[in-house]
Amino acid sequence: MIVSNTGKYTVVSLLVNGSSQDIMIRSADTLLCTLRNQLGLTGAKQACGNGDCGACTVLVDGKPMHSCLLLTMEALNSGITTIEGLRHSPVRQAFVDNWAIQCGYCTPGFIVNGHALVTEHPDAEDERIEEWLQSNLCRCTGYQEIKDAIKSALNANNLLDSNGIDTAEQ
C-alpha cells in the first residue's frame, strides 16, 4: 500500500520521459505542479487548472491526461511522458510544417494529445480526430492548421514506442 502523509514532504520516485527521478512532494501536489516546480519540465502549461483547456496534457502510460487533475501520488508506478520527451515525434514536426502554432501556449498540450492519437489510432477518421481534439483549447483559434497537422502525421510511420517514450533520446 502506498502512503504519504501531511506532516512532511514524501520522497517518491517518478518515471518521467524514460528516466526515474527521486523527488520530494506533498500529497496534495498535482502532477503539473511537480513536473514544473520540482523537475523543471515547463512544457506542460498551467492554464485553467480545471481540466478544461488541455494545456497541461501529458501521457500517463501512453494515455493523455490533464496533469492539473492528477495527484502526483496517483502517477507513481506509471510511465509519464511530457512534451520534452516527444522531441522527435512526427506530430511535433507536423505542427512546424503546417504552421499550426500562433501564440504557442496551447501547442505542447495539442502535440502530446495528438501524439497519443496517432500512436493509438493510426487510421483515425475525422470524427475520432475531432473527439480527441475537443480536449484542447486554442484561444488563438488556429484549429484548422492543428487538425491539418494531426492529419499529416497520421500516416507517418516513424512513431515512437508504444509508451510514447522518445527512443531516440535513450
Binding site: 500500500m1 496534495a28 500517463v60 493523455p64 490533464h66 487533475l69 480527441w132
Partner: protein, 276 residues
C-alpha cells in the same frame, strides 16, 4: 494548487480501505474515498471541499474489474469512462458516457466517481436506472447490494463506498437511444440528457439535466408507453408530469429545458419509428 495538506492512502483490498477509513475517522479526521478524482481535485483547488485523508480505490481489484461474471456484466467503480467506451460491453452505457466531459478527462473520470458526483448531472447512471442495475457497496456491514436508484437519491452510510455495478446480460443489447443537448459546444453539462431502451415492447427512459438529480419516473414512462394517444400528445402529457422543480439556472431556463426535452422526445420517437 491544492491549498491544504492531506494524507494519501492507496490500499489493495476492500478490507484495508475500510480499516484505514475507520482508523482515520476515529482520529476525528475528515476522510474521503477517491476514484477518478477529477471532481475532488477541482473542488479542493477551488476551496469547495476540504479533507484530511484520501483513500484511493484504484489499487483494489474489485474496483477495477470489468468482466462478465455468469449472467452479469460487472463494472468496477474505478473503471474509467474511456475503458467502458473501448470495451463496449454495454453499448448504451458506452454511448452515454462518451458525451461526459472531454476525451482526455475520460481517461481519468471513473464510472464510480460519476455516479457519486456532488454535481447533479451524473449521466453515467442513466443506463443503469433503466436496466435495474445493482450497486454493490462495501462498508462496516460488509458487502451489500442495492438497486442503483438508491445511489441517485441517498448518501451512503459512514465508511461505505461503491465498489461495483452489475447489469444483467439480458439487458446489454436491447435497442436504445442516448441523446444529449448542451448549451453551445459538444463538451458541456446537459440541458437535457436522456437514455432510453425498449424491453418487451415497452420504453424505459431516464433523464439528467431536468431535475436536481437524474431520475426515472414510472408515471412519465407510463404515458410514453400509452399507445392510445398520438405521439405529440403523449410527449406533452409526459412533460406535464415531470417532477416539480425543473432546473432553472444559468445553463438553461426551466422553460427552455422543457422545450429541448420536447424536441428530444420527438427525435426519439422518430428513431423508434425508423427502426420498426
Amino acid at each position: 494548487m491544492i491549498p491544504f495538506n492531506f494524507d494519501y492512502f492507496k490500499p489493495e483490498t476492500l478490507e484495508e480501505a475500510l480499516k484505514i477509513y475507520s482508523s482515520e475517522w476515529k482520529l476525528g479526521k475528515k476522510v474521503i474515498y477517491l476514484s477518478g478524482g477529477t471532481e475532488v481535485i477541482t473542488f479542493a483547488r477551488g476551496g469547495k471541499m476540504t479533507f484530511d485523508s484520501v483513500i484511493d480505490l484504484k489499487g483494489i481489484p474489485e474496483c477495477t474489474m470489468l468482466e462478465m461474471q455468469g449472467d452479469d456484466l460487472v463494472i468496477g467503480a474505478a473503471v474509467t469512462l474511456n475503458r467502458l467506451v473501448e470495451s463496449n460491453h454495454f453499448p448504451l452505457l458506452s454511448k452515454t458516457v462518451r458525451t461526459i466531459a472531454d476525451h482526455t478527462s475520460r481517461n481519468k473520470i471513473t464510472i464510480g466517481g460519476n455516479l457519486m458526483s456532488k454535481l447533479g448531472y451524473r449521466e453515467g447512471i442513466l443506463p443503469f436506472l433503466i436496466t435495474d442495475a445493482i450497486a454493490v457497496v462495501y462498508g462496516p456491514a460488509g458487502t451489500e447490494a442495492m438497486p442503483v436508484d438508491n445511489l441517485a437519491a441517498a448518501e451512503l452510510a459512514e465508511g461505505q463506498f461503491l465498489t461495483q455495478v452489475k447489469v444483467a446480460a439480458s439487458n446489454l443489447d436491447l435497442p436504445f437511444v442516448s441523446m444529449k443537448r448542451t448549451r453551445s459546444s459538444k463538451v458541456g453539462y446537459p440541458i437535457v440528457s436522456l437514455a432510453a431502451l425498449r424491453k418487451e415492447g415497452r420504453i424505459r427512459i431516464a433523464f439528467s439535466g431536468i431535475h436536481e438529480h437524474p431520475f426515472r419516473s414510472a408515471v412519465v414512462e407510463g404515458i410514453l408507453n400509452d399507445e392510445t394517444i398520438e405521439d405529440q400528445q403523449r410527449i406533452d402529457k409526459a412533460i406535464a408530469k415531470l417532477p416539480t422543480n425543473v432546473t432553472d439556472d444559468f445553463i438553461a431556463s426551466k422553460d427552455f429545458r422543457k422545450f429541448v426535452l420536447n424536441k428530444l422526445l420527438t427525435e426519439m420517437n422518430a428513431v423508434w419509428e425508423g427502426s420498426r
